[in-house]
């Protein structure tokens, strides 16, 4: 029985079956920013095209994940050395750490040709994390969101009533309401394909295998090996994001190999399931209720004995 007990005892795969938990490992060190994942996802899931919007944010004109963008490629232009394998990607010892936070400066405002250092362009395909502790799922009052037998988190379009509780619950800002139909939409990890033994559309299309689909345990092993290889080759900044079952969401079903801090890619550095405190809140509420009840009872009991 392949029960995944990572979520504080909450099973994330179907009990009583041999179905292992499935997920994505997105290795951004080989991403070429082609956006095949975005298109393959849209083609398969028949997601509406969502308008021509020139953002001037490098080559990103999708803007971010949303109801009509379930895979999104981030482009980060950085004054960092290119990832050559001889010299390594890491910054020089002792240099200040630039967290790559958004600035108010327009690109290139403060440069002169002579100050130009080395340069790199990071690309990363973002997607729903299919959290082990999924807040969207916790707060869904209708049962539209459910955890599938593959351990993924899926919205059922025939159940969702568009209440939108899940939208603020997501620590990554992934799940989103489609304006014209009112319901929420996000990556299903191609639930309909998985049932037929197929891999999700984005992973299948990805030209450089930056998006890998498979059993989560096996992906984690592969990812750790890849980080080791990259570091050995001098890419000291390679790190995994979302793979740790001890993190704030109990580990993600879709995790990443990044070449810089998560913030640089627009990812929260320390995401926490927004319903983390729900059990203790319920406990306190329970204690409070019991106390109240006891107090009230005591009051009445006391009156009787008077």
């Amino acid at each position: 029985m392949a029960i995944n007990e990572e979520a504080g005892g909450q099973p994330v795969t179907a009990p009583g079956t041999d179905q292992p938990r499935m997920g994505f490992f997105t290795d951004t060190s080989v991403c070429i920013g082609c956006k095949a994942c975005e298109v393959a996802c849209k083609e398969w899931n028949m997601i509406p095209e969502d308008g021509l919007d020139f953002t001037a944010m490098s080559f990103d004109n999708s803007g971010g994940l949303g109801a009509d963008t379930w895979r999104h490629v981030t482009f980060v232009e950085q004054r960092e050395p290119l990832g050559h394998q001889e010299t390594g990607v890491g910054r020089p010892e002792g240099a200040p750490v630039d967290l790559g936070m958004p600035s108010f400066e327009r690109p290139g405002d403060s440069t002169g040709a002579d100050e130009r250092g080395e340069f790199r362009w990071l690309m990363s395909s973002d997607v729903c994390k299919h959290c082990t502790s999924a807040a969207c799922l916790d707060v869904c009052p209708t049962g539209a969101l459910f955890r599938t037998e593959y351990g993924t988190v899926v919205v059922q379009e025939d159940i969702c009533n568009g209440c939108g509780y899940c939208v603020p619950a997501c620590p990554y800002g992934v799940i989103d309401k489609r304006q014209d139909d009112g319901r929420v939409w996000k990556c299903t990890l191609c639930y309909d394909r998985l049932g037929d033994g197929l891999e999700p559309a984005c992973a299948k299309a990805c030209p450089t295998d930056s998006i890998q689909f498979g059993e989560l345990d096996e992906l984690r092993e592969r990812a750790n090996e890849r980080v080791r290889d990259l570091r050995e080759a001098g890419v000291s900044s390679a790190r995994l994001y979302g793979e740790d079952p001890r993190d704030g969401v109990g580990g993600a079903g879709a995790f990443f190999l990044l070449l810089d801090e998560p913030e640089v890619y627009g990812l929260p550095p320390d995401p926490v399931v927004t319903t983390r405190d729900l059990p203790s809140m319920w406990r306190y509420a329970g204690v409070a209720a019991v106390t109240l009840l006891a107090g009230v009872s005591a009051t009445f009991l006391g009156r009787r004995t008077r």
Binding site: P15, K35, A36, S58, N61, L82, G108, G143, Q156, D196
Partner: protein, 1086 residues
């Protein structure tokens, strides 16, 4: 519902039973979710296909349900793509089934204000009538006293997006009609490749295949945006990188390719010969070349004629230059005493001398040897004298060494803007990863080809790879990355004016030319091109069948004759002059995709009729109604007499046929569903157009109609009267006298007993089996996967692979073994099909007087070459020199630092009001256009946009036309990020959104800072995503060998804000011309 079911479906019961107490897992699954299936699994059938976008050739599975295509995905069995697709390939479902495709024929009468609908059959009849009429009106029997038998009144453009079979019918029918101006995208994209690689190695195709790049130790990508333009092919670069290879990207821009490289080397656009020349100099002067390879397989030791003078002697010119004709007498570059015909390029170069000489010999019958004495003491054929020590001052090696001696790292820094140490790092990577045990590959695309010295760019890389011993070996080679699904095919089965199928040259007009004269004038005595007559006769037999007999020279006179360049750019000039009156556009959009788009439209506005075949109403179909010249008031719709026909085209899923990808691999795709409405394949269109014309001409006694009436034109028809593409492919493959399918080109004969539509494709239907349709999974084969589809020639995957073994036939190293000599069994064997005669031993030396294939020795690895050698020095075949020389582009801000000769002296320039050039650097007015502009592709779009700007899923990813500028340039000109900028040249002004990015770095060149501007070229005013066309900016200035335009390096000005509207747009351009003092003579200097 039974009680039990009722209880079991009760949620509380299920939550307990399924251990889902909170009801968040499977108990919450809805009935719909429980029944979800993938639409691929429920499809009625899966049809094997190939992606229609770039030339990587990703295999696709097309899923059909209820006779509708419901999904298109990559085929995991493919050894090329491994089931992957880029965004364009992934969008092919929307491309083929989306709402933007048109399905009705449209017609616009002359001077009409709008389209009207027209019935398909009527439209076909009308087009046939117009072809017949224009052909008669514009027929030429002779020109300048020479027989030409042709019409210059009709032209066609397009073919690289079509199937090989379609290209074949276009070339066959139009040639029989006497139309010579048959062209396609290959002219404007990769024609320089054919001349560059062809003269160097013998064949004009990529020497290797993308999958083999995984074995490279160093990959240099230069003149290509590999990751963006061929994303799925790029997986093999990533594979090599994962195995420890060094990846270097040399490019003016930091692109998505640079982002994945180990090193990005910024370079000033248009200076790659200086860079490569620098590397050649580094390799020679530091003795980093692979000596044994060099000695065995190249012409390093051959002695060159005393007439030869180098650019070092003549300040940038070679000997033989005539200023009056702007051309060279290339006989001065020959080997000493020997005239060899080139395998590519200008095959006809020494025709007169060769034919004259041949007849003299025939008359005197003094020679028993097949080699004949040529004029000026040169012998046709035979091997040149050699100096095995490579020290003779006139041996190729010494000439090469002297030619590049001044291409020093300092010079490279001054010309290209590449810092010295960075340049030397590239040299070190390349040389350390080349040799006996290591190999490096060069990958390039149109960043190299599209220059006035384009062919020589390719030659420079060829020389370097020969010096380093990287040709014909695993992990080595030169990969010409092609950008259309069948642009390799439309060169092989050419819709090109200057070649017949299989690179047989189209005959030029000569006095009383017989087939034998043609063969003598254009083919060598030694090597496989000595079989030119067999290839040509077999082609003529395929086209004219029983009508082609020995007595009538196999209908050789049915072929119309050339009299110079008839490239698509010459056609535009002829259209503006009123010579060319009818035009076919088949999947090509010159109003966006060709240089100087305004000239393209002005030419089209001067036609009698224009046929456009495409998916949607592209700019080339609607310029008369809403084009830029209508907006500016230059043209008025009601004054334009061009009669317009729009025919909707069938998509790749709606027709069967083969695409030839960038690996030279022919892959068959099956029709999944028939096209809807009036949409038809180009095979259907050409076949029925030919049929109707032949019916209308039947009974004609006019001799000009004989070629088309005698044509073999009977193909079996399938559903919807669609010709059977397999039957066309079988004709291309060829048959013997008994009608059996031929198995390989060595079976072809010159006596008329064999028929073959394209000799290099002979074998694609071997044993009567469509070899291009083979789909043995990659997982069951090695990396070459020789049982996946079929590659030309003879299913050889890595060309010249004899060179992977040493003189004695042993692999240079076990790590780099490919084919080798099996002495025990007396044959070549190995992983690949040997590109060599199977049983010719390495020790074979031709007997005295041997000719043809027998004259190739056991070490002549370049079997198409007249001397069997890789050409470091090209003694024939090129119009602008035997060795690449750095010349500045037509429009440039810098003087040529190396020579007084500024530009390629033989380039083609066209003085015309619509085609003004920029002033020379240093002259007054040159500072008006201070910046360098280069163009490129984006992953998200395709060429001139006809297949992407109408596709919403692609358009939203790159919704607007933009320009990339560095922050320093932005500051200099006051450009704002995300705002608009206007870019101006002497040709036109366009506007683009501004992307300011560190990826565009300014360079230090000749002591000053030079800024470069990057412009993607996909946009035009029609479709879903719209914008100005980059090609408005470019002049028509061409490479003299292949007539390709220079669009990778020009100069321009950039200013903030949007361009003027209406007539003011021309006004702005005129004011720039005025300030720069531009006249018809500007830029016309030799």
């Amino acid at each position: 519902m039974g009680m039990r079911t009722w209880i079991e479906s009760w949620p509380v019961y299920r939550q307990i039973r399924e251990r889902d107490p909170l009801g968040r897992a499977t108990t919450a699954k809805s009935a719909r979710s429980a029944e979800l299936r993938s639409r691929t699994a429920t499809a009625d059938r899966v049809v094997k296909s190939v992606c229609p976008f770039c030339a990587v050739g990703c295999a696709q599975n097309v899923y059909v349900r209820d006779e509708e295509v419901v999904q298109i995905e990559g085929d995991p069995d493919s050894p090329i793509s491994r089931g992957r697709l880029c965004p364009k390939g992934a969008a092919s479902l929307q491309l083929t089934t989306g709402e933007s495709r048109r399905h009705t024929v449209l017609y616009r009468p002359p001077y009409g204000r709008d389209w009207q609908e027209l019935d398909l059959d009527t439209a076909m009849e009308m087009v046939a009538d117009r072809v017949i009429r224009t052909r008669r009106e514009k027929w030429e029997d002779e020109q300048d006293g020479l027989r030409v038998a042709r019409t210059m009144g009709i032209a066609s453009l397009g073919g690289a997006t079509l199937d090989n079979e379609e290209n074949y019918l276009i070339k066959k029918l139009l040639t029989a009609l006497g139309v010579v101006q048959v062209e396609n995208q290959a002219r404007v994209c990769h024609s320089s490749t054919v001349a560059g690689l062809g003269t160097s190695f013998g064949r004009g195709g990529a020497t290797t295949l993308m999958q083999d790049q995984q074995h490279s130790d160093c990959i240099i990508i230069e003149g290509s945006n590999y990751a963006e333009a061929h994303p799925v092919g790029f997986q093999w670069v990533m594979e090599a990188k994962a195995r420890g290879a060094v990846v270097i990207h040399v490019d003016p821009r930091f692109s998505r390719t640079s982002a994945l490289a180990d090193m990005h080397v910024p370079i000033r656009a248009g200076t790659d010969i200086a860079f490569l020349g620098g590397v050649i100099n580094h390799v020679i002067s530091n003795e980093k070349y692979f000596y044994d390879y060099l000695r065995t397989f190249t012409n390093a030791a051959s002695i060159v004629s005393e007439d030869f003078r180098d650019t070092e002697d003549l300040d940038g010119l070679f000997s033989g230059f005539s200023e009056d004709t702007r051309s060279y007498d290339s006989t001065m570059w020959r080997y000493e005493g020997v005239d060899v015909a080139p395998a590519s390029g200008k095959r006809d170069q020494h025709y007169e001398a060769r034919v004259e000489d041949e007849s003299a010999v025939r008359a005197s019958e003094t020679s028993e040897r097949p080699e004949k004495h040529g004029s000026g003491g040169a012998v046709i054929g035979g091997d040149p004298a050699e100096d095995p020590t490579l020290t003779h001052p006139r041996c190729v090696f010494q000439i090469l060494k002297r030619h590049y001696e001044r291409y020093t790292p300092e010079m490279v820094e001054e010309i290209c803007g590449i810092p010295r140490d960075m340049f030397l790092r590239v040299c070190d990577h390349l040389t350390e990863n080349s040799g006996r045990d290591r190999t490096s590959v060069f990958c390039y695309a149109v960043g190299w080809t599209q220059h006035t010295v384009g062919s020589q760019y390719i030659r420079a890389a060829s020389i370097l790879q020969l010096l380093l011993g990287n040709i014909g070996r695993p992990g080595g080679g030169i990969q010409a990355l092609r950008g259309h699904a069948s642009i390799q095919g439309s060169s092989d089965v050419p819709t090109l004016f200057d070649v017949l199928p299989g690179y047989i040259p189209m005959p030029h007009a000569h006095e009383e030319q017989t087939l034998d004269d043609f063969v003598v004038g254009t083919s060598p005595i030694k090597g496989f091109w000595s079989n030119m007559k067999s290839y040509t006769v077999s082609l003529l037999k395929a086209w004219w069948g029983d009508k082609a007999t020995e007595d009538n020279d196999f209908c050789f006179d049915y072929l119309p004759r050339l009299t110079g360049s008839h490239s698509t750019y010459d056609t535009v000039m002829e259209q503006m002059e009123g010579v060319c009156k009818g035009y076919f556009l088949m999947g090509e959009n010159p109003a966006v995709g060709s240089a100087n788009t305004r000239a393209q439209r002005l030419g089209m506005a001067n036609l009698d009729w224009l046929v456009v075949r495409d998916f949607s109403l592209i700019e080339s179909a609607t310029w008369w109604k809403d084009g830029p010249e209508i907006q500016s008031g230059e043209l008025r719709t009601e004054d334009i007499g061009t009669e317009m026909f729009f025919f909707p085209a069938a998509s790749h899923t709606e027709k069967s046929g083969t695409f030839t990808n960038t690996n030279r691999t022919l892959q068959w795709h099956d029709r999944a569903v028939p096209p809807k409405g009036d949409a038809r394949s180009d095979l259907w269109f050409m076949y029925h157009l030919g049929r109707i014309i032949r019916e209308k001409l039947a009974g004609s006694t006019d001799p000009i109609d004989r070629p088309v009436l005698d044509l073999t034109w009977d193909y079996p028809l399938e559903e919807g009267d669609e010709p059977d593409a397999a039957a066309v492919l079988a004709e291309i493959n060829g048959h013997d006298a008994d009608g059996n399918h031929l198995n390989r080109y060595t079976q072809l004969r010159d006596d008329g007993s064999t028929r073959c539509g394209c000799w290099i494709y002979c074998g694609v239907y071997a044993d009567g089996v469509n070899q291009a349709a083979r789909r043995k999974p990659a997982s069951e084969q090695d990396w070459l996967s020789t049982e996946w589809a079929w590659s030309w020639p003879d299913n050889r995957r890595i060309l010249y692979n004899r060179a992977s073994a040493d003189r004695d036939g042993n692999p240079w190293s076990p790590r780099k073994a490919l084919v080798w000599w099996d002495a025990e069994n007396g044959r070549w064997t190995g992983h690949d099909t040997p590109d060599f005669e199977r049983d010719k031993s390495p020790g074979y030396r031709p007997p005295e007087g041997a000719g043809g294939v027998d004259a190739l020795s056991g070490t002549d690895a370049f079997i198409m070459q007249a001397d069997g050698k890789g050409w470091l020095y090209a003694p024939a075949g090129l119009n602008d020199g035997p060795m690449p020389t750095h010349y500045e582009p037509q429009d440039t801000p810098f003087a040529n630092l190396l020579y007084h000769q500024q530009r390629n002296p033989t380039r083609f320039v066209y003085p015309h009001e619509a085609n003004r050039y920029h002033p020379n650097p240093g002259t007054p007015g040159s500072s008006i256009f201070p910046y360098v502009v280069t163009t490129y592709r984006l992953t998200e779009h395709f060429t001139a946009g006809g297949m992407s700007r109408w596709t919403p899923y692609l358009s939203e990813l790159q919704p607007e036309f933009f320009c990339e500028v560095g922050p320093e340039l932005a500051a200099e000109r006051g450009l704002s990020h995300g705002d608009w900028a206007t870019i101006v040249t002497a040709r036109n002004a366009i506007e683009a959104r501004v992307l300011i990015t560190d990826r565009m770095a300014p360079l230090r060149v000749q002591g000053r800072t030079i800024h470069q501007i990057g412009l993607p070229y996909h946009w035009g005013p029609n479709g879903y995503s719209v914008g100005d066309s980059t090609n408005e900016l470019f002049p028509i200035a061409l490479d003299p060998n292949v007539h390709i335009q220079e669009v990778k390096a020009v100069t321009a000005d950039i200013q903030p804000g949007r361009r003027p509207r209406g007539a003011d747009r021309r006004g702005l351009v005129r004011s720039y011309q005025h300030s720069a003092g531009i006249t018809e003579r500007t830029g016309m200097e030799v």
